[in-house]
């Protein structure tokens, strides 16, 4: 049942999950997943709708806590530290493990305020000058600076969808996370905006551990070096992306990537 496949033998995983089960009320959404995520590679979670990939992603920064009926079992660690232990400060955890959502969700504030939001609440920058530096750095990393530097005080919601999503990435970067979780970040974007986000993921790789959930197998192949295939709450197969796509070991993986279902 539990397939704790981990052929990569990561010596020093950034995050690691062991036998993680997630329940929504009586319904089990994740049936015991074990996986390691490392710093140097982009990890993609793929699988058909309802397979649990987004649910699992949300356990990594405890966003499932906001769902009253959700319950998580098993162990997840960040740098060896159990993130579900009572001593873990969820607020600090989420500052270290940032998240980008399916639909761009900038706050209805100015572009500047969107980026400054995190640094302000975490006390990362006090003086206006410091904040200006953080905002510029984050926007540059998010590849948005050139496009918005002259209108930092315009509303973030007035940007195009792709720009909004990059603003959200910049917003996540601004709190200097170690891991960035991306939940289908391009599903609401057009192909050009998608290409820009993918390019950005390449640039961010190495600086942050990145986990991306995607529906789009080409996208997984393009942006990731590690791919995990989820099906019906199981982690079916996890391996080097090129292996998964050219030489899957599991029948279900093969069926999925050849378009037999999903």
């Amino acid at each position: 049942m539990t397939e704790a496949i981990n052929p990569l033998a990561i010596a020093n995983p950034k995050m690691s999950a062991r036998d993680v089960k997630v329940f929504y009320g009586a319904k089990q959404a994740i049936k015991g997943v074990s996986i390691d995520v490392d710093m140097d590679h982009v990890t993609a979670f793929i699988g058909p709708s309802g397979c649990g990939k987004s649910t699992f992603l949300r356990t990594l920064n405890r966003m499932n806590d906001t769902v009253a009926s959700a319950r998580v079992e098993g162990m997840i660690t960040l740098d060896g530290e159990d993130i579900y232990s009572p001593s873990m400060d969820v607020v600090q955890l989420r500052a270290r493990v940032g998240m980008v959502f399916q639909k761009p969700n900038p706050f209805p504030k100015s572009i500047y305020e969107n980026i400054a939001y995190g640094p302000r609440i975490h006390g990362l920058a006090h003086a206006k000058a410091d904040l200006d530096v953080v905002v510029e750095k984050s926007l540059r990393r998010a590849g948005l600076w050139e496009e918005v530097k002259d209108r930092l005080h315009d509303s973030g919601t007035a940007l195009s969808g792709g720009q909004q999503q990059r603003l959200c990435i910049g917003r996540a970067i601004a709190v200097e996370p170690e891991v960035i979780l991306m939940d289908e970040p391009c599903s609401a974007l057009d192909p050009i905006a998608t290409a820009k986000i993918e390019e950005l993921i390449h640039e961010l790789r190495g600086r942050y551990a990145i986990v991306i959930v995607t529906h789009n197998m080409q996208q997984a192949a393009r942006v990731s070096q590690r791919t995990a295939f989820f099906h019906l709450g199981d982690l079916v197969e996890y391996g080097v992306t090129s292996d998964i796509f050219t030489n899957p070991t599991q029948e279900r993986t093969k069926d999925y990537i050849t378009g037999r279902y999903g």
């Binding site: 920064n61 966003m63 906001t66 009253a68 607020v91 600090q92 955890l93 989420r94 500052a95 270290r96 940032g98 998240m99 959502f101 639909k103 969700n105 900038p106 706050f107 209805p108 504030k109 939001y117 995190g118 609440i121 975490h122 959200c168 917003r171 996540a172 709190v175």
Partner: protein, 464 residues
Amino acid sequence: MTGPALFLLLAGLGAIAWVSARARALRLQIVARATGRRDAVHSLPGYHGWYVALWTIAPAILFLAVWANIVPGLVTQAVLADPAAQSLPMDDFYRSAILGEARSIATGAQAGAFNPLAQGLVEPYRAAINKYGVAGAVLAIVLAFAGGAYAFTRVRPDFRARTRVERLVMATLLIASLLAIVTTVGIVASLLWESFRFFSMVNPLDFLFGTKWSPQSAAMGYGNEDAFGAVPLFWGTIFIGAIIAMVVAIPLGLMSAIYLTQYAQPVVRKWMKPTLEMLAGVPTVVYGYFAALTIAPALRDFAVMIGIHGASSESALAAGLVMGVMIIPFVSSMADDSIAAVPQSMRDGSLAMGATTSETIRKVLIPAALPGVVGGVLLAVSRAIGETMIVVMAAGLAANLTLNPFASVTTVTTQIVQLLTGDQEFDSAKTLAAFALGLVLFVVTLLLNIVALRVVKKYREAYE
């Protein structure tokens, strides 16, 4: 024939019309089906039934409505033409008094006559009422038959009864909605007209900016001139409704909305929200008791204890506090709606950056929901300043221009009640002042509502 019997008869005719038209349409349908054409009859038999029934009843009822309005005039004319009416005095006042008395006896509302002249007119009255009553009933029945027969002849396979009935339903609904609008227009017109009369007696500037309000002084025999400076009233209204009540209602309403939307377990929310909304269903007179009998004396005692002068047993604070409690559900349910309308993704975005729930509420949810909350507050203010019972019972009548919340103040609505209760002559400035006050109140609440709805609408558009 009496009214109820006539209506029953018409209803019976309508029922007969419905049954027979339906039966006829059914027969037509069967015949048409026999020829093999499924669509031969356009409408279901029931629609034909309704069509004919409506044609039977509606014209007769409409006729009776008009008839009821013109009959009194006709009856009076008939009576005046009677020889017994020749001896009536020419004076209008006595004349109508006697005629009224005779009518009362004729209809059985009064047993005997004070005025012998009236006694003589009873018989002519009775005869006239009977004559026109029977005439009206006969005409109504004839109309019912005529309408029913006309409609019945139209029951044919290709007749679109369904469409006609639909159109009639629409017309009925339109009339229902127009009635409310017409009533509003009528109220506004009467307010404007009476206010205009008032302002022809009192200078509008004195009314709007004068600080002395004492409309009863001439009538009560002290003072020589009535004073209609409404500023103390406006101030009292604002002090109670827009300041004290809001100081209570805004924080409490907002906080309860935040608790209910963000912190409460679904079970708690399920119970607390309706309970809170029940506050809005408590009759305002009950709040009035509460304010006048419980809160006001307690506040006075408290004020005396801490040594505040001018503390009254009717105080702005008592009325304002209780009104604030009454307004809480308005503020909280508007705030609840607008906080709930902020997309969940906004909240997730903030939480995912490591903000706490309260940081998320303060920095993301409230700013995003602010326009809706402001709209709710404006609506609540307009409700508070129009509120009457609480202030009548707890705020007092003294038109004081004071900042002391323990003192008695009076409000626009309280004064309207004062000016219009009891026997009134409707042409004195004192009575007409009530209409001017009503007009001011109406204009202010209207403006508040317009602004509030604009704000709320604009905000809704931002998220859709």
